[in-house]
């Protein structure tokens, strides 16, 4: 044990963004040689806290201590110099450069005339790689490495300074089971060297395997810290979502509408294989699984964005082949994509123009766009979805996330689709608007739409779906009705355990 009680400690952190209080009086610490897991739903404030710890955000209030020394972190570089390093979920390496250059990027060793001292660079890098038991050399180009090994490079980069605390953000999201074991070994080594580890993950089984303590955030507030050995998944979940997980939604009706969309044995490269399911009018079918399990790929394939390698798609009793998004739209399919700003909206266009975009070719009098027709559509869906905007001229980019998402949903409802696919309906949306969008999806089903919802958030999928399909590595592992699903069996199904 080190002489210090904590490697990293924060006290009373408050961070507000326009429209949201992301962190509200959060205190948290990690001891040297400890793995401290940080848990919370999406939007609970984990990423914000992590960015505060790593010097990417300045807190509005509160204090940070590194080895019990008060610290003010102006930048990630400063945080790193003081010994706090963040290992990103999305790797940030220069792909075309060598491993060694990446490890020492920005502080390459120099010799005379400012030339790079390659010998020293490779030797230093080699030493760090050995410490991590890596089986690749410092001269390897990063682009030739697997994701897991890239992650090792990222960790190696953290070790160029005397790290006191290392923050891992969802490190296993894209690792295989074997690669995961290697990572856990590295984490144990770091622990043994007295480094404090902050471990952020959604995966309960990992957290219970490697952590010493677990802290939970909910809606930006600190909900408590538990000793891992004294607790169980139920208790942690209760802290996370604020209630015992009951999936009751009240007044759930089992759908009796006709089957609208039926797919059989869909396969698409190595993204998904032999996927069969059907959706009825009046129901919400949920797709749940980890990122990369193939849920989004299925939606994109149905919408003509990916070519199917095999399988049959039957819409209202007729077999169809979808060749392009345009074609999918004409067939009556609608996709609210997972990335609202990149795929869903033209941010520089007005609310109205975004909403009428898919059907602009039909909204005409003679060769010209019918202004009245457009405004009529905008008004109808603004009222139906209670979109808050000063007027139709308002640029979509200036709306809040929730209202932006409603514009995307409205744009597709205005097409009167046969099947509405919603991918991550509430990503990056505040808690209030979330509930509103969940209700909206329920109402749409009640109005007779066939709705498919894809989500990575368990509470979301449980509260909106009539049936849930669990996916693991491109295959459907299990289908649940709302009555038989529990958090446990759902987690098992998406981890390939059932």
């Amino acid at each position: 044990m080190n002489a210090f009680d904590t490697a990293l400690r924060v006290q009373g952190i408050v961070k507000t963004f326009p429209a949201v209080r992301a962190l509200d009086d959060v205190s948290f610490d990690v001891r040297p040689g400890e793995v401290h897991a940080l848990l919370g739903e999406n939007g609970a404030g984990k990423s914000t806290l992590m960015k505060v710890l790593a010097g990417m955000h300045r807190p509005d209030q509160g204090r940070i201590f590194i080895s019990e020394e008060p610290a003010i972190l102006h930048s990630p570089l400063e945080a790193k110099r003081l010994g706090v390093v963040l290992i990103h979920q999305e790797l940030s390496l220069a792909e075309q450069m060598s491993v060694a250059e990446n490890i020492f990027l920005g502080e390459l060793p120099r010799k005379n005339f400012g030339m790079v001292d390659w010998k020293k660079l490779y030797a230093d890098a080699e030493a760090i790689l050995q410490r991590l038991n890596c089986d690749f050399g410092p001269q390897t180009r990063v682009e030739d490495l697997s994701i897991a090994k890239k992650q090792m490079v990222e960790i190696a980069r953290a070790l160029t300074v005397e790290a006191k605390a290392v923050i891992f953000d969802e490190p296993t999201a894209s690792l295989t089971d074997q690669e995961k074991e290697v990572l856990f070994d590295v984490i144990r080594d770091l622990q043994a060297q007295g480094v404090g580890i902050v471990y952020i993950s959604h995966r309960m089984e990992e957290i219970f395997r490697i952590s010493n303590r677990i802290s939970v955030l909910r809606d930006g507030t600190y909900r408590g810290t538990l000793e891992t050995v004294d607790t169980n998944e139920d208790e942690v979940t209760r802290l996370m979502i604020g209630r015992s997980l009951d999936t009751s939604r009240g007044g759930k009706v089992v759908s009796t509408g006709p089957v609208v969309l039926k797919v059989e044995n869909l396969s698409c490269g190595d993204l998904f294989e032999n996927v069969s399911f059907s959706v009825q009018a009046g129901e919400v079918l949920g797709f749940y699984g980890l990122v990369g399990a193939g849920r989004t790929a299925i939606a994109e394939a149905l919408f003509g964005l990916r070519r199917l390698s095999q399988g049959k798609v039957v819409l209202n009793g007729q077999e169809i082949t979808i060749t392009s998004p345009r074609h999918a739209v004409e067939q009556g399919l609608a996709l609210v994509p997972e990335s609202r700003k990149e795929q869903g909206l033209v941010l520089g266009m007005s609310c109205r123009d975004n909403m009428t975009l898919p059907q602009i070719g039909n909204l005409t009098t003679g060769p010209f766009v019918s202004n009245g027709g457009e405004i009529a559509i905008f008004d109808r869906y603004r009222d139906l979805l209670s979109i808050k905007t000063p007027g139709w001229r308002q640029l979509v980019g200036n709306l809040s996330g929730g209202n932006q998402q409603k514009i995307v949903i409205g744009k597709w409802l205005a097409m009167r689709p046969k099947v509405l696919i919603v991918d991550e309906p509430t990503r990056g949306i505040d808690v209030g608007s979330k509930a509103e969008i969940h209700n909206l999806l329920r109402e749409l089903a009640a109005d007779g739409y066939a709705v498919i919802v894809i989500s990575s958030e368990m509470p979301e999928i449980l509260s909106v779906s009539d049936r849930i399909i669990a996916m693991y590595r491109g295959e459907i592992t299990r289908e649940f009705t709302a009555d038989e699903v529990t958090e446990d069996n759902l987690v098992q199904a998406i981890s390939g355990l059932s």
Partner: protein
């Protein structure tokens, strides 16, 4: 995007107005300056001359505006102008004026279609494709003429003269053509489904595709429009000169792009308008004319034009970033 709103709000007051309307303000300052130093500058005769001369660049720039709003570039219009002018002038005596115009327009559209296919359907980088086309079409023109200049023999009797030299209701025909093309393309961009799609594709190509818009077709069509406008410009130019050198359009691609940028159409795509481009064309025309009237050699224009363009681009990005100087983008 919340971020962008914040930054644009940061530029308030005089500085903000300056940055946002900078081009118009600079234009007015220029006009007043020139008018003070040269009494000829603001006479209706001189103004007409400027607009008439600007009409060729103007018609081309209107077509290129559509391409740029769609998120691409078209640098091939310079040598396309050479090609089309040579073709229409050469065919004039051989097959007659009407037929020459028709054949030339079809040939120009074929070139535009090639641009459109490579950039729209094969999704190649527009800068590289049109830069290559710039040189390829110049080569094509020289192969066609064998290096000889072409001209029209009976310049005084052909009705072809009307496009470059004629007047209707006291207005030079090139100005009328410029105005008509501007109005038509403006209406297409502002009031038709196609126009809306161009803005969507330029603003966010991914979201456009996710909305069921056929991006390939929209982009390809923008190059057809650009080529057609260049064809019209070639009619004006051929008719005015009644002959053509092989490289008559050389350098026009930059003047055209300069006019589009000066007007304030963003090279990133998704915003801009024909109206802005018309203003850009006029600014360019008046600056060049003013400098000539003040007695500067014609090559001084090149330098001044460059300064004005850099200034315009700077003010444009400054307005977006919310500050004039920025260490990071």
């Amino acid at each position: 995007m919340a971020e962008a709103t914040l930054t644009s709000n940061r530029l308030k007051g005089l500085g903000g107005t300056l940055a946002k309307q900078g081009i118009l303000i600079a234009f007015i300052v220029f006009m007043i300056g020139f008018a003070l130093f040269s009494e000829k500058f603001l006479t209706s005769g001189n103004v007409m001359t400027v607009i008439r001369q600007a009409a060729i660049v103007g018609v081309m720039a209107i077509g290129v505006t559509v391409v740029v709003i769609g998120g691409n570039l078209d640098l091939s219009v310079g040598s396309m102008l050479s090609f089309s002018t040579v073709l229409v002038v050469d065919l004039h005596d051989k097959i007659g004026p009407g037929e020459a115009i028709a054949v030339m327009l079809v040939a120009t559209l074929v070139l535009g279609a090639l641009n459109g296919f490579l950039i729209g359907y094969l999704r190649l980088n527009s800068l590289i494709v049109t830069l290559g086309m710039l040189s390829a079409i110049q080569g094509l023109t020289l192969i066609y003429t064998g290096g000889q200049n072409v001209d029209i023999s009976h310049q005084d009797t052909t009705w072809f003269a009307v496009f470059g030299r004629g007047q209707v209701f006291g207005l030079p025909v090139p100005i009328l053509i410029f105005a008509v093309v501007a109005v038509i393309v403006h209406v297409v961009l502002a009031y038709t489904p196609y126009g809306r799609r161009v803005y969507a594709v330029g603003g966010n190509p991914m979201a456009a595709v996710f909305s069921g818009i056929r991006r390939n077709r929209v982009v390809a069509c923008s190059y057809l429009i650009s080529a057609f406008c260049t064809g019209i410009a070639a009619v004006i130019l051929g008719s005015r000169v009644m002959g053509s050198q092989n490289n008559v359009g050389q350098g026009y691609e930059l003047l055209v792009l300069a006019a589009v940028i000066l007007g304030g159409t963003s090279l990133l795509g998704g915003s801009g308008s024909v109206l802005k481009t018309v203003i850009g064309v006029l600014i360019l025309g008046f600056i060049q004319n003013g400098l000539l009237l003040l007695g500067y050699a014609y090559y001084v224009q090149w330098l001044v034009t460059w300064v004005v363009i850099i200034l315009a681009v700077w003010l444009d990005v400054a307005a977006k970033r919310g500050r004039l100087f920025s260490p990071i983008a």
